[in-house]
């Protein structure tokens, strides 16, 4: 064997002669990018990504076919090479058409893999769906009930009929897992020995505690109230989030091992300094925005005027302040709607929401306004309070003086502010008033010690923390959630806390924060107007499932939950409405990976804007989307059956194919090897509908359970679900080849017909029993037979599908415990 010496990127490498540059580099772990490489089968229309620069040669050369020669000095990442690769990628990107991630996913503040969990629901994998949600959102029960649903506003299905009821599906999987007592057994990293204090046990504090505990930190939550939950408990009453559900959700987080100190008021029972003195390595402030902005009119101080948070808090604690027969709610935010609906439930006969602008300008979500109205809440719009007076027993306790409003002239920014109409004062007699004019984090300054007093506060009276680093102006003290942003949705608090947890983790471990996921994304259209309607050819109308809801006239009379949740059938139906916009090849797409690696700017290169080809579902196990094909030709060349014909009727000026065709001929045995080798998402497995983003996936190498060929397979496992099956081309005895069974026929593993409990025959019927009873009964029965008729009266059939170890034990059992050679298996059958 002759050897040669080459230099690659400055490193000298000795290898045998006859290798291509690509092979040689690969052996030294130098990665040269390629989109079309198939060992031993060079492409006719190469991707040209593997071009490298050779010292002394003007032209770049293809590493996949160029042989390494003695003395070559090769550069795989020179400026010239990189420029070339970017140009090649640009040419490919320009016509590549599809969504990397779905719009719902991109719109969700939590960046939750929405399409993924919907797909799990469609497959009946509810546990896995919840696990996927929990990757990024530990509050699926609450968010599934109160989320403003940013995702649904961008759902492409809007262009067909209705958006998918995404949030109801999230709630469904959470409730299903609770009702089926599923423990997700979320893995926890090894203990770090770092203690972290979280001030506030609301959504933000619980979320941070969850993610920090997962990272192995020792977290203690300090909560001022006697119970955890914060806004989830004291901002939403039971009819929105039932207490048993909330307690279950909180316990799920605590079960991971979070310490909790209840009724601990910050500034009174502890201070930042005392926490530091106790050895907490970092402190996260998650106190929310619980301080009501006061109504500044005369007469607000009286026993019948409450602020929103005060009122809701007392109601949540089970106290029932006397609100009389008529109540006014001042303010138009979401909390005002909660107050109004709670007043109705408390039995207040007339509840009037007062707001100085029109209805569409109310900051509350229109959905919440509609629901309040259905339950009997009245709205007095374009009106503003001017004074509260004692009604002096004129049939009511208070007189609320109001002035009618009109919209003034536009200001510099073009906004029209309401102005009082002079002389339009009216009086509304009421028994009680609740004001909800917005919430802040703090009145003026935090109380406690010198550290508290030094916390920087914004003009909005929230904590001034860096949005990216979550750091306050005090070393080691972080803040997030509503305490920083002011009142926002629960999911936004979750996101803020998750980010804070990452920052705190990096801080206490003295590490750089993990790089954020790339925002690189091919899209079929950013806005609805950009989406070509041809995308929806062949999609039939199917309206969304209606959420079963108790009638407003009944549900407004108690505190039971209003929305009852989807049934399993409804959830499956609804999940099937998903158009699966995002690419199911997300985790394996090399075009995307290279585009990210080389910082490709899609705004500059452009991308495909409309579908040129219809998706092809005609193959039994494969879906073909030629709009994503980059003509790398790997499918055709890896196919060991010569079953694929890939071609084009012509080529454009940049040598890209036009009139692309990809056909499976009669030789196709549906082995699926082409899909595993596709460089983009042009080929997809019909059954693999779950896009995998950053979720951890474990590859388990094992042996195929079918025929005796002993093919080595790789089970790709996410949580407790096998997502797909692939094979390693380097592994004996099958070297990447599998049959249709080996790559596809594994759904039986998690099929609902699996036996889950021992069965025993009682009164002629097979009924479930415990292992103890089943084993004891069996042992006794076998013992008796043996005693009465001898050991040869018992026979055993072992199993040619069980393992060696099991077959060995079975025959050992028959020969030792029973004492017979009546042992056999189905080798002959």
């Amino acid at each position: 064997m002759t050897t040669l010496t080459v230099t690659i990127n400055g490193a000298e490498i000795v290898a045998e002669a006859g290798l291509t540059i690509l092979e040689l580099a690969g052996r030294s772990d130098i990665h040269i990018p390629t989109l079309c490489y198939v060992p031993g089968k060079p492409a006719d229309t190469p991707c040209l990504m593997c071009m490298v620069e050779i010292e002394g040669q003007e032209q770049l050369i293809r590493a996949c076919v160029g042989l390494a020669k003695d003395g070559m000095v090769i550069s795989t990442e020179s400026a010239k090479v990189v420029a070339h690769r970017i140009e090649r990628l640009s040419i490919l990107a320009e016509t590549h058409f599809g969504d990397c991630k779905a719009p719902c996913n991109l719109t969700c503040p939590g960046q939750i893999n929405v399409q993924g969990y919907i797909a799990h629901v469609a497959k009946g994998q509810y546990e896995e769906a919840l696990r996927l949600v929990m990757e990024r959102n530990p509050l699926p029960f609450s968010v599934g009930r109160v989320c403003p649903r940013f995702c649904e506003t961008r759902c492409r299905r809007i262009l067909v009929d209705d958006p998918v009821s995404i949030n109801h599906l999230k709630r469904f999987v959470a409730d299903w897992c609770m009702n089926h007592e599923i423990d997700l057994e979320i893995p926890k990293e090894d203990p770090t020995g770092k203690r972290i204090a979280v001030i506030g046990g609301g959504p933000s504090g619980l979320t941070a505690a969850h993610f920090l505990t997962k990272k192995g930190h020792d977290v203690t939550i300090f909560e001022a109230s006697p119970m955890l939950g914060g806004a989830l408990r004291y901002g939403f009453l039971e009819y929105r989030i039932p207490r048993d559900v909330l307690n279950y959700e909180i316990n799920t987080i605590l079960r991971q091992g979070v310490s909790v100190k209840l009724s601990q008021k910050w500034g009174k029972n502890f201070t930042l300094q005392s926490l530091k003195d106790q050895g907490f390595a970092a402190i996260y402030i998650a106190t929310g925005a619980g301080v009501d902005v006061p109504l500044e009119v005369p007469g607000t101080v009286n026993p019948y005027t409450h602020t929103a948070m005060q009122y809701l808090h007392r109601m949540a604690e089970g106290k029932r302040p006397d609100m009389g027969r008529r109540a006014a709610v001042i303010g138009g935010n979401n909390i005002a709607m909660e107050v109004a609906r709670t007043l109705i439930r408390q039995g207040v006969a007339e509840v009037t929401v007062i707001y100085p602008r029109s209805r569409v300008e109310m900051p509350a979500h229109q959905r919440n306004i509609r629901e309040a109205e259905k339950e009997g809440v009245q709205f007095l719009l374009m009106a503003s309070p001017v004074e509260i007076c004692d009604a002096a027993n004129q049939g009511a306790r208070l007189k609320l003086e109001l002035i009618r409003m009109k919209l003034g002239e536009p200001d510099a920014k073009g906004v029209r502010h309401p102005e009082p109409i002079p002389g339009s004062v009216n009086t509304l007699p009421v028994d009680s008033i609740v004001t909800s004019l917005g919430q802040t984090t703090v009145g003026e300054k935090f109380n406690g010690g010198p550290l508290e007093k030094s916390i920087a506060i914004t003009i909005n009276k929230t904590i001034d923390a860096n949005v990216r680093s979550s750091q306050t102006n005090i070393e080691g003290v972080f803040a997030g959630g509503d305490a920083v942003s002011g009142p926002r949705s629960v999911i936004q608090a979750v996101v803020s806390a998750r980010r804070a947890a990452d920052n705190i983790h990096a801080y206490v471990m003295g590490r750089e924060k993990e790089e954020a996921e790339s925002r690189f994304n091919f899209t079929r259209g950013k806005g609805f107007d950009d989406v070509d309607m041809k995308n929806f050819d062949g999609i039939h109308l199917k309206l969304r499932e209606k959420m079963p809801t108790r009638p407003p006239e009944i549900c407004s009379q108690d505190f039971d939950e209003v929305k009852l949740g989807f049934t399993e059938k409804m959830a499956r139906n609804e999940a099937e409405r998903c158009l699966s916009c995002g690419c199911t090849a997300y985790d394996r797409c090399q075009l995307k990976d290279l585009a990210i690696q080389y910082n490709l700017n899609l705004n500059k290169t452009g991308m495909g804007t409309k579908p040129v080809y219809a998706k092809d579902y005609s193959h039994p196990v494969i879906i073909v989307d030629k709009n994503k094909c980059i003509f790398c030709g790997r499918c055709e060349r890896v196919c060991e059956y010569e079953a694929i014909e890939l071609g084009a009727t012509g080529f454009d000026d940049k040598e890209r194919p036009v009139g692309l065709y990809l056909r499976f001929n009669d030789n196709c045995v549906s082995c699926g090897k082409c899909v595993d080798n596709c460089s983009t998402g042009a080929l997809n497995k019909k059954a693999q509908i779950i896009p995998i983003h950053s979720e951890p996936v474990q590859d388990v190498r094992t042996t195929c359970p079918y025929c005796g060929a002993g093919c080595q397979i790789i089970l790709r496992v996410k949580g407790s679900t096998i997502i797909e099956v692939t094979a390693d081309p380097k592994q004996a005895p099958n070297y990447g080849a599998l049959c249709v069974k080996g790559r596809f026929a594994h759904e039986f593993i998690q099929h609902k017909a699996r036996l889950t409990k021992p069965l025993i025959r009682k009164n002629g019927m097979l009924v479930e029993t415990s292992w103890d009873e089943a084993l004891d009964f069996t042992a006794k029965k076998l013992f008796d037979l043996k005693a009465m008729y001898g050991p040869d009266s018992i026979a055993g059939f072992s199993c040619a599908r069980a393992t060696n170890e099991e077959n060995f034990l079975m025959q050992k059992f028959m020969r030792t415990s029973i004492g017979t050679n009546n042992i056999d298996h189905c080798a002959r059958l």
Partner: protein, 539 residues
């Protein structure tokens, strides 16, 4: 298996799957590897493409038959006559390997005597194969100096004369000296993932683990010492014999692990009658099979993806099985159930994990002695692996047979137990579909597989179809003396005239209600591949 062990001293595939690439000639007999072992079938196709010559012996016109250099289409069940005929021609034309026979085999004279009468004319009478084809096949396989491999499947073994067929194959390979070399050998393709392992582990009525027969005192002593118990030496009953033993009251209790005889057994209705008569039936399975529905106790078992262990594939390669997910509900791995039950029966079995069991296996079985989980972590090893530094054995019988000398065991042709007659004029043969497996309990749970292969079709030759007035997709009733099934037809010349082929994967077409529980006298394998039937069009 059983007969190959008699001939060579070892009953397994002599060579490796990858070996096909090194063969000059491949003889494929009674196997449609495309459907039964697709990835092995692929290697055979590729070997053919790369220049190997392909000799196919199969009553069915398989894809291999289509691309073969020579395809013999014998009458079903006439393999012994055909193979003896080939031996006859090889001897007559002096194509055999004298040196190999002299140095490495015994009983050659017997072979000459028995095969003397299998003249091409006599063979043609039985097999329907003309002399010219017979001679051509003999010359092709014998090809002196060439590497010639034989692959066979259940098409050869699933006969009352199955072991005779296999012995005849072994005779042929030894006569031509095609053993002990890469690219040659006698290669049975095992039907299930771990049949090889189940046999190796001694889940057999007539041997201890490692093929130590019940007369091997040495082995018994070793096992009894290790297991601290006296082991029974009385002959056990084969699975296929158990049913009669139940019906004659000799067997009262049956423990079935992972099998569904209600669907799988030949003359399945006979098995059902026996199951009904049992005093006590334990079934351990992953699904509530038809057999489990008849049980007194059902133990829920873990499937392959839910446990650790090893499988031994058809090329004797011992490979890891790894746990990927938890078993559903309270289901447990089979090994755990055996341990718990045995301990309750008073014989303590206490293993921490499958690896501990495996280490016991390697202490007891010389073939596995040098295998550890660590050694097979990345790539499996092919037994025998006698020591920790042994690299495994891709080719058996190099230079010497496992038992020293190879033994010629010539057999005479015996006709199939049941042949067509006036009342049942056709032959039924059972076949596999590529996308399905066994009785479908695993494969049929995947939607895409069902879409690919949703239904059992009776494959009928156009001539037969014409005779019975049947067209494609007609519903027919197929009956044997034992039972009947209803299904639709597929008219195809893949089926030989006079033979109807039906896949056995479909519970709704329980084709083993028709088959014959006539057993091979040595291995006790049933005759799945031939029974007499009649067809009626259902109107």
């Amino acid at each position: 298996m059983a007969s190959l062990a008699l001939s060579f001293g070892s009953g397994a595939m002599t060579n490796s799957i990858a070996d096909a690439q090194e063969s000059d000639v491949i003889m494929l007999i009674g196997s449609n590897a495309d459907t039964s072992h697709p990835t092995i079938g692929l290697r055979i196709h590729q070997a053919k493409e790369n220049g190997a010559q392909l000799l196919v012996i199969d009553p069915r016109r398989t894809a291999f038959a289509d691309e073969a250099d020579l395809w013999l289409q014998p009458n079903p069940g006439s393999d012994v006559a055909l193979l003896n005929g080939i031996v006859h021609v090889i001897l007559e034309e002096d194509l055999w390997d004298r040196t190999f026979v002299e140095e490495r085999t015994e009983n050659f004279e017997e072979l000459e005597i028995v095969t003397a009468k299998y003249t091409p004319a006599y063979v043609e009478q039985i097999t329907g194969i003309p002399e010219s084809q017979l001679r051509e096949a003999a010359r092709l396989y014998a090809s002196p100096g060439q590497r010639c491999a034989i692959y066979y499947g259940m098409g050869l073994a699933h006969h009352a004369s199955g072991t005779d067929n296999v012995k005849s194959i072994a005779n042929l390979a030894m006569l031509c000296g095609k053993l002990g070399m890469a690219g040659g050998g006698v290669n049975p393709l095992r039907g299930q993932n771990n049949v090889q392992g189940a046999c190796d582990m001694g889940a057999l009525f007539n041997t201890l683990p490692g093929y130590s027969g019940l007369n091997n005192n040495c082995a018994f002593e070793r096992y009894e010492k290790m297991w601290e118990v006296k082991l029974p030496r009385r002959k056990g009953k084969a699975a296929t014999e158990v049913w009669d033993a139940i019906l004659t009251d000799d067997i009262k209790g049956l423990y079935i692990v992972g099998e569904d005889p209600v669907l799988a057994d030949p003359n399945a209705l006979h098995a059902v009658a026996a199951l009904e008569k049992l005093d006590f039936l334990i079934v351990q399975d992953i699904f509530l099979t038809d057999t489990a529905k008849m049980a007194d106790i059902v133990f829920p078992a873990a499937c392959y993806a839910e446990k650790d262990g090893t499988f031994t594939c058809t090329e004797r390669r011992v490979q890891r099985v790894r746990k990927a997910v938890e078993p559903p509900g309270e289901a447990k791995a089979d090994w755990q159930i055996f341990c718990e039950l045995s301990s309750r029966m008073g014989y303590e079995m206490d293993y921490a994990d499958p690896e501990e069991i495996f280490n016991e296996v390697t202490q007891l079985m010389p073939q596995y002695a040098g295998i550890t989980y660590q050694r097979i972590d990345k790539v499996g090893l092919q037994w025998p692996v006698p020591s920790l530094d042994h690299p495994g054995t891709p080719v058996l019988h190099v230079g010497k047979f496992t038992q020293g000398k190879g033994l010629f065991i010539p057999e005479d042709y015996t006709p199939p137990t049941e042949l067509p007659d006036a009342e049942y004029p056709l032959i039924l043969t059972t076949i596999r579909e590529r996308a399905q497996y066994n009785f479908g309990s695993m494969t049929r749970k995947t939607k895409e597989i069902e879409a690919l292969c949703p239904e059992a079709f009776a494959e009928i030759n156009p001539e037969d179809a014409k005779r019975y007035g049947i067209v494609d997709l007609d519903e027919i009733k197929v009956s044997s003396r034992r039972g009947s099934v209803h299904l639709r037809t597929l008219i195809t010349d893949r089926s030989q005239v006079g033979t109807i082929a039906i896949p056995y994967h479909f519970a709704e077409v329980p084709v083993n209600n028709l088959t014959l529980n006539s057993l091979d006298r040595l291995s006790r394998s049933p005759q799945y591949k031939i029974c007499a039937i009649k067809v009626e069009k259902v109107t």
